[in-house]
Amino acid sequence: MQQPNRLRPFFENITFEREDNEAILNFGPQHPSSHGQLRLMLHLQQEMITKAHPDIGYLHRGMEKMAENMIYNEFMPTTDRMDYIASSSNNYGFALAVEKLIDVKVPRRAKVIRMLLLEINRLMSHLFWLATTALDIGAMTVFLYGFREREYLMDLIEDYCGARLTHAAIRIGGVPLDLPDNFIANLRKFLAKFPQDIKDYEDLLDKNRIWLMRMENVGVLSKEMALSWGCTGPMLRASGIAWDIRKEEPYELYDEVDFKVPVSDKGDNYARYRIYMQEMRQSAHILEQVADMYDKVVKDNDTALMAHSPRYISAPKIDIMTQNYSLMQHFVLITQGMRPPVGEVYVATESPKGELGFYINSQGGPYPYRLKLRAPSFWHTGVLTDLLPGHYIPDVVSIIGTTNIVFGEVDR
């Protein structure tokens, strides 16, 4: 066998005169509908795709390696930059993994606030998804409507933590702040009008025959394909598998709230769109219940926001300022970082886009020995290889839209 020479090109298998009428289109990384930095190499017969090859890595920041050189609390703001549409979900996934590693018990008030943040983030993410997907298919109006409601939620989050996009609003062992005044009132005001907003979107889209034509029977993801590609979240549920980690392995207070998991067995774009719309309704329903829970917590005068665990978590500010031992402990925890016990842990949470998993391997030092992120969008990007062939260029846009990939999360 001839050895390909590194310096001279190996021409044996390359034909220069091709008669197959195939065009290769470089779709992205800078493209209006590439949702960040997706580069797709599309092999085209006229406008039909024969082969699609997603190329990722244009937003790679090496988060997993960065984590190995940071103390645990330091890594928290970096997780914001993964799925930047719903940052608190990432914060929460990481915090939950570390909490499981160091085995602390989060106080109830913090849990309620976390639930509020998580579901608000889910709504924000789904609204953003609806807006951008509608824009990709050409519905400018729904785009602006969706962003209007998302703005309201971002204002709520801003009231809470001061940031709108990168929240870093959750700490290991609890939350840093209590809810501000009027937060619950504003939230209730939003929840009162939100069902009408969802109905507005559905009126604009579901009764539009062109929208149905563009969505139905396009990008059909069968059950077997969804399983073999490791799809999770709405992608999996649209393909007929009722899998929601909030139901299967309840974390936080999800076993106390009442909500349904919408499922469809069609697997096409339209099924995914329906799943997102119904999940928004369910999220609003959860938020109503959690708002009541918060009222109850306030009534019970349950004020602790951070877990009590002197080895790992700083004492409340008032103790640090008044008690010598707490001050020393705080100093050590800030300068050196917590030292979790030797061990490894994998925790999966249901982020708006699917299963968001954090694997942490601790060797007893202040830095994680290895941190692995399992981001749902990464797996959903892979599906494009199988999903796109046989479709036309306009469908590429709608399929990328409904897979709901965010590149902060894919490239990490």
């Binding site: 289109l25 990709d136 298919i137 400018m140 539009n208």
Partner: protein
């Protein structure tokens, strides 16, 4: 002679057409904005009416980049040619009872052919810019042209058949409420087909921003892009005016005749276009072709038959 220069440079020539195009575009933005729950242009001029002029002057002064590998002459020449071709039909349209530059007996044909030339020129601009996205856009322009212009021609033919003349001036003079009612199916077909020609939603397939990045315009920037944009604006106003002239009786008004009524009719057609734009999503090429050849062209042929029958029945003359 000086009157001819007045007509070419001011009314209804270049100056007027540019002004009305920019004005209509401002109306377009101003009406679209509340439907999106926005404000629209606001700061420059009264109610933001200078915004489009500012936008265009910005484009005008920006650097015009010619990509490597493009056919330089074709690339730079085409925007100018498309603009000139787009401005020409203004000569045959009767803007006011007295103002019509070319009193031709073939007004309808001149109008239709000058409009129909535009897509071919756009394809040439795409072809010259040697970019795959532009090429896809160009091919889409051609496909859309072939399917949409058939319906457009047939729709434009119906008033000519009804009034028995191709002279736009006579068509306007002979028009009445009865003729508007007879031409109404044709008018609907005209409205649908002209959305396709102007590449407006739901037929904005050739310049779909999210799919092929504005298609033929991908490589254009600066002055060349300015010319192409201006071409589009001019084509908008010409087609609005053409539709109003052919089907709605042009300058004919309720109490008096005048340019005002033509303008109102143009705004009416614009309003129809905007409402569709706000409420509808883009269809794909295949769906457009299916719609066009299965329904639109069939109905435009039926419409011609209806026009023949109606002419015999209502207009009191044989065919």
């Amino acid at each position: 002679m000086s009157h001819l220069f007045y007509e070419i440079l001011l009314f209804p020539g270049i100056g007027y057409l540019l002004l009305v195009s920019v004005g209509l575009y401002w109306v377009f933005r101003k009406i679209l904005a509340p439907m999106h729950k926005r404000v629209g242009p606001h700061f420059n001029g009264p109610a933001g009416s200078f915004q489009t002029i500012f936008d265009l002057s910005k484009l005008w002064t920006k650097e015009s980049i010619t990509p490597k590998g493009a056919n330089v002459y074709l690339f730079s020449l085409m925007p100018l040619i498309t603009l000139i071709i787009a401005l020409l039909p203004t000569a045959v349209i009767p803007w006011t009872p007295t103002e019509i530059v070319v009193r031709s007996s073939y007004g309808v044909i001149i109008f239709v052919i000058l409009i129909g030339l535009e897509p071919i020129l756009l394809f040439l601009t795409a072809f010259s810019s040697s970019n795959k996205y532009a090429l896809f856009g160009g091919v889409r322009v051609l496909v859309q042209m072939i399917s949409m212009e058939t319906a457009f021609f047939l729709a434009c033919l119906s008033p000519a058949i009804l009034f028995g003349t191709m002279n736009l001036h006579i068509i306007v003079q002979d028009s009445s409420w009865l003729s508007f009612a007879i031409l109404f199916p044709g008018f609907i077909i005209f409205l649908i087909a002209f959305l396709g020609l102007l590449e407006q939603p739901p037929f904005d397939i050739p310049e779909a921003e999210q799919e092929i990045v504005y298609g033929v315009y991908t490589e254009y920037s600066g002055t060349n892009y300015f010319l192409l944009q201006l071409t589009k604006f001019a084509e908008f106003s010409i087609l609005f005016a053409g539709g109003a002239t052919l089907f709605m009786g042009g300058y004919k008004g309720i109490f008096f005749n005048g340019y005002l009524f033509l303008f109102l009719k143009m705004v009416f057609i614009l309003f129809f276009m905007i409402v569709l734009r706000a409420g509808i999503v883009r269809i794909t090429m295949q769906q457009m072709l299916a719609f066009c050849w299965r329904y639109l062209i069939v109905f435009s042929l039926l419409n011609l038959a209806w026009i023949f029958i109606a002419k015999a029945l209502f207009m009191g003359s044989g065919i």
